[in-house]
C-alpha cells in the first residue's frame, strides 16, 4: 500500500490553519496539484476547522480558474487520521486526475 512518490506532505495542526497562501505558494513553486486533507465532517477537534478549510478550498478553486491555472488542481478530502487506506485511495485519485490535467501551466509559461 503506497501513495504516489511525487506527493509531498506538508503537515498542519488542523486544516482550520490552512491558508490560501499555502496553496498559491505551492503552485508558484511548481506543484501540479494540491490536496487538502482534513478530519471527517463533524469530527474536527476544534469543531469547524475542516469546514473552514473546505470553504477556503472552494474559493481557491475559483481563484485558480480565474488565474488560468485551473480549479481542478486543488481538492479537499475528509478522513480520519487512522484511515491509511482511504488516504492512499484519495492520493491515487488525485494523482490520476493531475496526470490527466498535465503539468502546472505556470511552469510552462515561466520556462519561456
Amino acid at each position: 500500500m503506497q501513495y504516489p512518490a511525487s506527493i509531498r506532505i506538508v503537515r498542519i495542526p488542523c486544516t482550520g490553519k490552512f491558508d490560501i497562501t499555502y496553496a498559491l505558494r505551492a503552485f508558484q513553486k511548481g506543484a501540479d496539484g494540491v490536496m487538502v486533507v482534513g478530519c471527517k465532517p463533524h469530527e474536527c477537534a476544534f469543531e469547524t476547522g475542516n469546514f473552514r478549510a473546505e470553504e477556503r478550498v472552494k474559493l481557491t478553486k475559483e481563484i485558480l480558474d480565474e488565474l488560468g491555472i485551473g480549479g481542478d488542481r486543488i481538492e479537499m478530502f475528509f478522513m480520519s487520521a487512522a484511515e491509511a487506506t482511504k488516504f492512499v485511495e484519495a492520493s491515487n485519485i488525485m494523482f490520476e486526475k493531475i496526470n490527466k490535467l498535465g503539468p502546472n501551466p505556470l511552469k510552462a509559461s515561466q520556462g519561456k
Partner: protein, 291 residues
C-alpha cells in the same frame, strides 16, 4: 542641516499621483523644497539625463516596458537610496490589472476599440516594447525603502523626506491593518450575503464588511486613516499588504471564504482581491492557455 539632499524622481508605469501627493504638502512645500536639490524629475523639471551621485531616488510606478526596466537599472546604479514610492512601484498597483491579459491581447484590444479606423495597425516604431507583465520595482532592482499608498499620504511623503534629510531610517508605516484605524463598529461576524457598492445605503456607523460590502480593510495596511470607509465606500486595498502577509489577495480570500457561498457568487474575484497588488502576487499574472 547639512548640504542639500540630491533628489531624483521619476514616474514609470504610474499616473503621477504620487508626485501630486508630494505637492499636496501645500505651504509646507516651502519648508521642504529648500532642503532639496531636485537633480532629476521630468514631471517638474527639465534635466534630460539622470546624473551621477544622487542621494535619494523616488520611483513612482511599476515596470511595464523595456524602457522602464532600463531606467530603473540606471537609477539604481546612480543612486545611494532608491525608494519604491507608492503602490504601483511597490506592488504594481492598478496598471497591474493588465497582468490578467496577455500583452498581445492587451494591444489587440486597445488598437481595435469602437472608434479606431485601422484596427490592424499596432505601434512598433520608436516605442518601447512591453514586457510580459507589470513588475514591481523590487523585482528588477534592490529597493531600499517602500512607501505604499495610492497615493501615499502627503504626511508619509514628508516623514520620508525628513528622515532621509536627517540621514535616519524612515520608519513611517503602521504595521496594523486598516480595520484597526477605521472608526466603524465591528461585531466580529461574517456577512451571509455580499453586496455591490450601489446596492442600498450603508449604515454610517457599522463595519462595511459586516454589512455585506466587499471591504478589503482586513487585508490592507493601515496608514491612510480609513479614508474610503469614512465616506461610505469600501476599501480596495490601496496601501497593500501588511508585513505579516505574503500575498494580499490570499489574505482577502481567507477572510471572505468565511462568507461561504456568498463569495463564490462574486464576479471577478481576482480583480477585486488583487486590485492593487497583482504584480506582487505569488501568481502575478493570468496564465495563458497553451494552444
Amino acid at each position: 542641516m547639512a548640504d542639500k539632499v540630491k533628489l531624483g524622481m521619476i514616474q514609470l508605469c504610474g499616473c503621477s499621483g504620487c508626485h501630486m501627493s508630494l505637492l499636496d504638502l501645500h505651504e509646507k512645500l516651502l519648508d521642504v523644497l529648500p532642503n532639496l536639490e531636485i537633480v532629476y524629475g521630468p514631471i517638474v523639471a527639465d534635466v534630460k539625463e539622470i546624473p551621477e551621485g544622487i542621494d535619494v531616488f523616488l520611483i513612482e510606478g511599476g515596470i511595464r516596458n523595456e524602457h522602464d526596466k532600463h531606467l530603473t537599472e540606471e537609477i539604481r546604479e546612480k543612486s545611494k537610496i532608491v525608494v519604491a514610492w507608492g503602490t504601483c512601484a511597490a506592488y504594481g498597483g492598478i496598471p497591474a490589472l493588465g497582468n490578467l491579459y496577455s500583452t498581445k491581447n492587451l494591444l489587440n484590444e486597445i488598437y481595435a476599440t469602437g472608434s479606431v479606423d485601422n484596427p490592424d495597425e499596432i505601434p512598433e516604431e520608436n516605442v518601447p516594447k512591453l514586457l510580459d507583465r507589470v513588475y514591481p520595482v523590487s523585482h528588477i532592482i534592490k529597493v531600499d525603502y517602500t512607501v505604499p499608498g495610492c497615493p501615499p499620504k502627503p504626511e508619509h511623503n514628508a516623514s520620508l523626506i525628513m528622515a532621509l534629510l536627517e540621514g535616519k531610517e524612515p520608519n513611517i508605516l503602521p504595521t496594523k491593518i486598516l480595520c484597526d484605524e477605521c472608526p466603524r463598529k465591528k461585531k466580529g461576524i461574517h456577512p451571509k450575503e455580499l453586496k455591490r457598492t450601489f446596492e442600498g445605503i450603508p449604515d454610517k456607523e457599522l463595519c462595511l464588511y459586516e454589512q455585506g460590502y466587499t471591504c478589503l480593510g482586513m487585508a490592507t495596511r493601515a496608514g491612510c486613516g480609513a479614508m474610503c470607509p469614512s465616506v461610505n465606500v469600501p476599501c480596495r486595498g490601496c496601501y497593500g499588504k501588511t508585513d505579516a502577509v505574503l500575498d494580499q489577495g490570499a489574505a482577502v480570500a481567507n477572510a471572505f471564504a468565511s462568507t461561504g457561498d456568498a463569495v463564490l457568487k462574486l464576479s471577478d474575484k481576482v480583480g477585486l482581491f488583487y486590485r492593487f497588488s497583482m504584480a506582487d502576487a505569488l501568481i502575478p499574472k493570468k496564465v495563458e492557455k497553451k494552444k
